[in-house]
Symmetry: C2
Subunit: 210 residues, 2 copies
């Protein structure tokens, strides 16, 4: 695997490269120099060259980068050439918003089921899927080859659910619950703590004012 042993910092930049390259592709651009890409992305050209060197370069001196090739290769490194099956746990506003977000499918992420523990909403439909009870999660994961669970439930419920996910040996958890999860190293977690993000914005505003 090309991406092995790359620093977290470099990896965290790959989705942004992928996003910009997708835009360039949509604009019909075929080649781009590190200098041009640098201007667009507001990072130094040398950082771009260094980052891409980690993955074998993708470029030819003086010719710039082939946009399509680079887009495809970074996509492969990110695992976007593969299909992922997701379940959403927590059918509140955020869970439903994510279930309805079509763009994830374009990248190979397919929502297969949505769960909640509130009896009164079980059976309601979200994007053609009936909301199921959380007690059905373990069976559903096994029967439907689910590799990613999206947690959009209050933190009180998260611990118990995570225990189930660990038992099912889920590959990844995309965690929106307001809590840090305690899972074995074999399970990958990506946190989106929305409140933390809003607090950071608040800090920046007030740090500037005073």
């Amino acid at each position: 695997m090309q991406g092995k042993n790359i620093s977290q910092v470099v990896i965290s930049r790959l989705p942004r490269y992928f996003r910009y390259l997708g835009d360039l592709k949509d604009e019909g651009m075929e080649r781009i120099s590190s200098g041009e890409l640098s201007k667009r992305m507001n990072v130094t050209a040398s950082q771009i060259r260094q980052d891409f060197n980690h993955f074998g370069g993708f470029g030819q001196q003086g010719y710039g980068y082939n946009v399509n090739y680079l887009y495809e290769e970074i996509g492969k490194i990110l695992g976007l050439d593969k299909k992922h099956n997701l379940i959403i746990i927590g059918a509140g506003n955020l869970g439903q918003a994510l279930a309805n977000y079509m763009n994830f499918e374009k990248r190979g992420f397919f929502v297969k089921g949505i769960f909640d523990c509130k009896e009164e909403i079980i059976g309601q439909t979200v994007r053609g899927m009936k909301i199921m009870h959380t007690s059905k999660i373990a069976d559903f994961i096994k029967e439907n080859n689910i590799d990613i669970a999206v947690l959009t439930l209050p933190k009180q419920g998260a611990t118990e659910i995570v225990k189930t996910l660990v038992e099912c040996n889920i590959c990844g958890i995309w965690n929106f619950a307001h809590v840090d999860l305690d899972v074995p190293d074999s399970i990958h977690v990506e946190n989106v703590h929305l409140s933390d993000s809003l607090m950071k914005l608040s800090f920046k505003i007030h740090d500037d004012e005073e």
Copy 2:
């Protein structure tokens, strides 16, 4: 201002400290040593001490930290003792989910208005607020003392809206649009690129597999 010239890395850790201290407070804990906090948060005690020293320490050798005091002080540094008025631009699933998220109010973030450009949903109600047309944003910001705009609209619409926000001299933008914004330094931006986050999770899963 105590927080001046603190590195971004330290600042980015403050919301997490704040979250853990809030939990401790809820559990009725009055004091905690850096060692105990370190175990709970899975960071080194020396990092905790160093981080808190940036803000004047808050602790007394041998006595541990006063949980309530620390919670309040970090809250102040984050600007959470102040009231913020928000508008949400983009009344799709995600915009509505954020509008309905009550916890933000607990921290002093009040959603005052919600906007969209789609004629067919103008006038519909979200959490007691009528969805307004985006053409009304500038007036609304001035009349309602809005300091933060939440962008939950497709990237195609974002550029035009951001121009308006810059003209209104908005303090901060919480950006969920799938695009990096080009704004003057006086306007603070905090990005939540959900797709980038999901791609990072995908990378971790596949990097591990191969």
